[in-house]
């Protein structure tokens, strides 16, 4: 959901020939978002365990789900977003973690230990989490950034310079919360306001694109809806870039590693899950994908520029506005799709 900017679909990367390994003790096939798995961490795992890892990319939750449903895929581990996670569990596509091998579940930060999407962490561990908010080039506009008005009612300086990511659920979440609704609301009064606001705001948008970090950093785009990690990368290129957490409400997402029901290498997969619960591995992985890991102590191994980044830790006064994104029931999703199609017609 958050990596499309840099990923070409279906780039299959067979990582790192097993040079250090005289005899491979096993195999592990990981199916993950592109540009999301640190090669250094994988190399260390291979050295420590002798297991040979193959990494395959996907570019959306829907792609991954459709692929695994077909069967015969040969993957052991998948990393879906929280909003899709209940689907994976309900359809029996993943298996419970084997606590004999996955012994360090306590390394998960307390707030992520018992999430709504996987109570008691029976099936999954955190891979990365982040927020969807707004990005603003403060040399264009130096007013309040912690509001969805940046894209829903853009100030004059930003009109015609706003880019909105084409992620229906994120944008609808932000717009619904802006009007005081709950995520996935079917309340027609709120939805009518949402539609009108979006239709009016669209006139001030320049694009509905994933946008590029460079595009924001170099001033092609003045503001937009963006992910926190990508926004941080833009700020590292241009210090005028600021990330805002909309006080009206914003979605939090978390991608989670799980073991597939029809995995061929279950023990190896469980071993990898436990490996990723170790702070040094999680921290180093964060340095690669640039999002927080949800693992206790990982900060110690993270680059200082990340630990201090305002994009990575939500300010206390705005923390309550964050809400996990959820998958809307299909009758609500149909309405959202209709509003969305009107918006892009």
């Amino acid at each position: 959901m958050q990596h499309k900017t840099t990923t070409l679909p279906i780039a299959v990367a067979a990582l790192l020939g097993s040079t250090a390994l005289a005899s491979a003790e096993g195999e592990l096939n990981i199916y993950n978002w592109g540009n999301y798995t640190s090669p250094d961490v994988i190399e260390r795992f291979e050295e420590e365990t002798g297991i040979e890892v193959t990494l395959t990319d996907y570019d959306s939750n829907d792609t991954a789900l459709a692929q695994i449903r077909q069967g015969g895929h040969g993957y052991d581990i998948v990393v879906p977003s929280n909003s899709y996670l209940p689907i994976w569990i309900d359809e029996g596509l993943v298996q419970p973690l084997d606590t004999d091998i996955v012994t360090d579940l306590d390394n998960i930060e307390e707030e992520w230990r018992d999430p709504e999407f996987d109570p008691g962490r029976e099936y999954s561990i955190p891979w990365a989490w982040g927020t969807t908010g707004v990005i603003v080039n403060t040399s264009d506009y130096d007013g309040e950034v912690n509001t969805s008005a940046i894209f829903l009612d853009p100030p004059e300086e930003l009109q015609g310079r706003v880019n909105v990511i084409p992620e229906m659920s994120d944008v609808m979440h932000l717009a619904v919360r802006y009007h005081g609704g709950e995520p996935c609301t079917g309340d027609t009064d709120i939805l009518r306001e949402v539609r009108d606001t979006l239709t009016d705001a669209r006139e001030h948008w320049i694009a509905m694109d994933y946008g590029t970090v460079d595009g924001y950093a170099e001033g092609d785009i003045g503001a937009g809806v963006y992910w926190n990690g990508a926004s941080m990368r833009a700020r590292l290129q241009n210090e005028d870039i600021a990330y805002g957490y909309p006080q009206e409400g914003f979605p939090i997402w978390m991608d989670n590693a799980m073991v597939l029901s029809d995995a061929q290498n279950v023990d190896e997969a469980m071993e990898f899950i436990n490996f990723m619960l170790q702070p040094e591995n999680a921290g180093e992985n964060s340095n690669f994908h640039r999002y927080a890991s949800g693992i206790v102590g990982a900060e110690e191994y993270m680059d200082p520029e990340m630990v201090e980044a305002p994009e990575i830790s939500i300010p206390d006064e705005l923390a309550d506005a964050g809400r996990f994104s959820i998958t809307c029931p299909s009758e609500v999703n149909d309405i959202y799709t209709q509003v969305w199609t009107e918006l892009m017609q």
């Binding site: 689907i87 694009a207 170099e218 299909s330 309405i335 017609q345």
Partner: protein, 320 residues
């Protein structure tokens, strides 16, 4: 399949007045056997998926993507009509979908026209080079195909974006003072598509020109035709088949193009492929996606038949 049979039958006849029956039967047998691999690929790889799309378009969407095996006409209804979001009893034409259809047809048409205008002089230039040089020029025309489409589209982005090559150049030369917005407009989509599809116009037009007998042009001049008249009354009619082939080759992929409008158009104005993708992805409505894909197929077929009837038919009359 019927077409293949027809052609095979035709080919078998003319040699001898009355060929021995057994020999012909054997020859037919081998013909069929040899064409079997191609036929199998056509049947399974083309008709098979198409059949699935047809079936899916009349099923019910499942909760999280996929389909439930219950027959329903809802997807086809949704292609053309919509119930008001806030008042389910009010049914109107689905203007959102219709305007996306219209944009796709119109942009594909404009692309075809641009390619024809640019392609004609290019093909003319190549066909008038000495024989040895022609191959080099043709090779140059195909060079863009050596690079992946996504990469080339990103390269165009680099050229036309606000801080890109064109704008920087114009600003450094003091011709403009603030960047011209080219990215994220229909203009950007047109540039991208014309660039991508131009070779598909040049090559067939060149093939037609290559066969052009120069003596006809000389004869035209001898009979006091002006340059314009030679072009209009001799060259154009003779290269017409090339234009027809080129237009078809450009129009069909244009109307279904996905990458170019997505990357250069900024996604704010969808084209058909983007709408279809939305239904299979975030919209989680596969039947509607399937129905929209079939609607696209019908549009292409209708456009093709219409085009061949009017322009192609015209030509037959002329020759007949």
């Amino acid at each position: 399949m019927a077409v293949t049979q027809h052609i095979a039958g035709q080919g078998a006849q003319p040699d001898a007045a009355e060929p021995p029956l057994a020999a012909e039967r054997e020859r037919n047998f081998w013909k069929w056997l040899l064409s079997l691999p191609a036929l199998l690929i056509l049947i399974f790889a083309a008709s098979g998926p198409l059949l699935i799309v047809v079936v899916y378009s009349i099923l019910t969407p499942a909760e999280y993507g996929g389909v439930v095996w219950e027959i329903s006409g809802r997807a086809w209804f949704q292609v053309f009509f919509r119930r008001d979001i806030f008042d389910p009893d009010e049914v109107t034409l689905n203007w959102s979908h219709l305007s996306v259809f219209w944009r796709s047809v119109s942009l594909a048409f404009q692309t075809t026209v641009i390619c024809a205008i640019l392609g004609f002089p290019t093909a003319w230039f190549i066909s008038t080079r000495p024989p040895g040089q022609r191959e080099i020029w043709l090779l140059l025309i195909t060079i863009p195909f050596w690079t992946n489409l996504v990469i080339r589209t990103f390269a165009i982005q680099e050229v036309i974006r606000n801080q890109g090559v064109v704008n920087s150049l114009l600003m450094n030369l003091n011709i403009i003072h603030s960047p011209i917005q080219m990215m994220y407009t229909d203009f950007a989509i047109l540039i991208g598509m014309a660039y991508v599809f131009l070779p598909l116009m040049v090559l067939p037009v060149f093939a037609a020109m290559d066969k052009l007998d120069v003596r006809l042009l000389e004869a035209g001049y001898d009979l006091y035709a002006s340059r314009w008249e030679v072009l209009r009354r001799i060259v154009f009619p003779l290269v017409r088949p090339g234009f027809i082939a080129g237009s078809i080759l450009v129009f069909i992929p244009s109307i279904g193009s996905y990458v170019t409008p997505r990357l250069l158009g900024g996604g704010r104005n969808m084209m058909l492929s983007n709408l279809i993708e939305l239904q299979f992805g975030q919209g989680r409505n596969w039947p509607l996606g399937a129905a929209l894909a079939l609607a696209l197929l019908v549009i292409v077929l209708v456009a093709l038949v219409f085009y061949l009837r009017t322009i192609g038919g015209d030509e037959e009359k002329r020759h007949g």
